[in-house]
Amino acid sequence: MTDLMPPRSSGDPGPDANDGPSGRRRFNDGPSGRRRFTVALGVVAVAAVGVVAALAVVSSLRPHLYTGTVLQGDEPAPSLAELAYGDGTPVDLADFDGEVVLVFFGYTNCPDVCPTTMADAAAAVGLLDDGDAERTNLVMVSVDPDRDDAAKVGEYVGFFDPGFRGASGPVEAIDRAASAYGVFYQLNEPEADGSYLVDHTGTLMGIGPDGSVRVIWSSDVGPEALAADIAALLS
């Protein structure tokens, strides 16, 4: 059994994510010698608020309304290091620092959703300008390791775009990665000839240039909307 338990942090499960600014530390009204400093800070703070507000107004003139669902969390995307590409290299998301990575869980014997999503993603990359296209990556993780090794998944996605990459690994590692990305899958009962289908969450996850999961797209997002969202992530 692999130990996945996060370390206990001195009995405190961490800050309540919804506590908001009330938990923020404030300057105290310390010795009088500090008062001028506090005032100066206040002026700076007011100026900063003004600049932020001005920026907000400017950017709100043309906000990009994402088609995908935007996440605000800024922690690193779940690791895929237990999985490897066809050449045996472990998947290291740090390789994509400053770039966008689309993560998809699927399988190569998938007739409809996977090829549609991969074709749409490839078309989206085609719609981006060269600079953005260069900084857009895709990793498809197999949810069917019995039939798909990483090389096969790599060949599969490479058909849609030579830059796309495929990954696979032991079933336990795939289970953990899928769960961490909110993906559920299950193998269907095989047919007489032994072939079977796999039900799976078909969402496309977008890791932003900062390395965190920023946008979730449903599989029917379409190339134009996907390209616009990717460009916004990269801007």
Binding site: P111, D112, V113, P115, T116, A119, A123, F159, F160, D220
Partner: protein, 164 residues
């Protein structure tokens, strides 16, 4: 994860439907005259806009997409399909709720087409699934597909292989 029996899968699909209003590729209004030359049944039903996505060399499954146009005066229903390129063909419905993909055999109801309406097979919805594809589908080629209807009988078209 575990293998599920078909009943459980059906339950899964039903649960998905209940959970979020499932998207069905349904019967749209008829889209008017299609190009001449498409085979039309004596009852006024025809198959239009058939296409297939080019496939990666390592897979042996594919999906045909098409539109069954019922220009006649009686309701009809797609009952089967076949292609010399596929060992077997099943008609499937991808149930998509907020991007969740689950496939199941299409029901009789989903495959019915009323007079004056179209039955649309499209990505992430109804599709004609080709199993045991003999060799990769290459962009630009024409793949024969025969669609069998309950009343109209068999209609054979060429599905164009294209990326879209």
């Amino acid at each position: 994860m575990t293998r599920r029996d078909p009943a459980a899968i059906a339950g899964f699909a039903v649960a998905l439907g209940l959970a979020g209003g499932l998207t069905l590729a349904g019967c749209g209004e008829a889209t008017g005259a299609a190009p001449a030359g498409l085979p039309t049944s004596a009852t006024g039903v025809r198959v239009a806009g058939a296409w297939i996505r080019p496939t990666p060399p390592i897979t042996n499954v594919a999906a045909f997409y098409l539109r069954v146009e019922n220009g006649g005066s009686d309701a009809d229903r797609v009952v089967a399909a076949s292609s010399p390129r596929c060992a077997e063909i099943e008609i499937h419905q991808t149930t998509t709720v907020d991007g969740v993909a689950s496939m199941s055999l299409a029901s009789d109801e989903q495959l019915s087409v009323e007079p004056g309406h179209d039955l649309v097979f499209e990505p992430n919805g109804l599709h004609v699934m080709c199993l045991g594809l003999d060799e990769p589908v290459v962009e630009g080629e024409a793949v024969p597909l025969t669609v069998q209807l309950e009343i109209a009988g068999s209609l054979t078209v060429d599905a164009v292989a294209e990326n879209r």
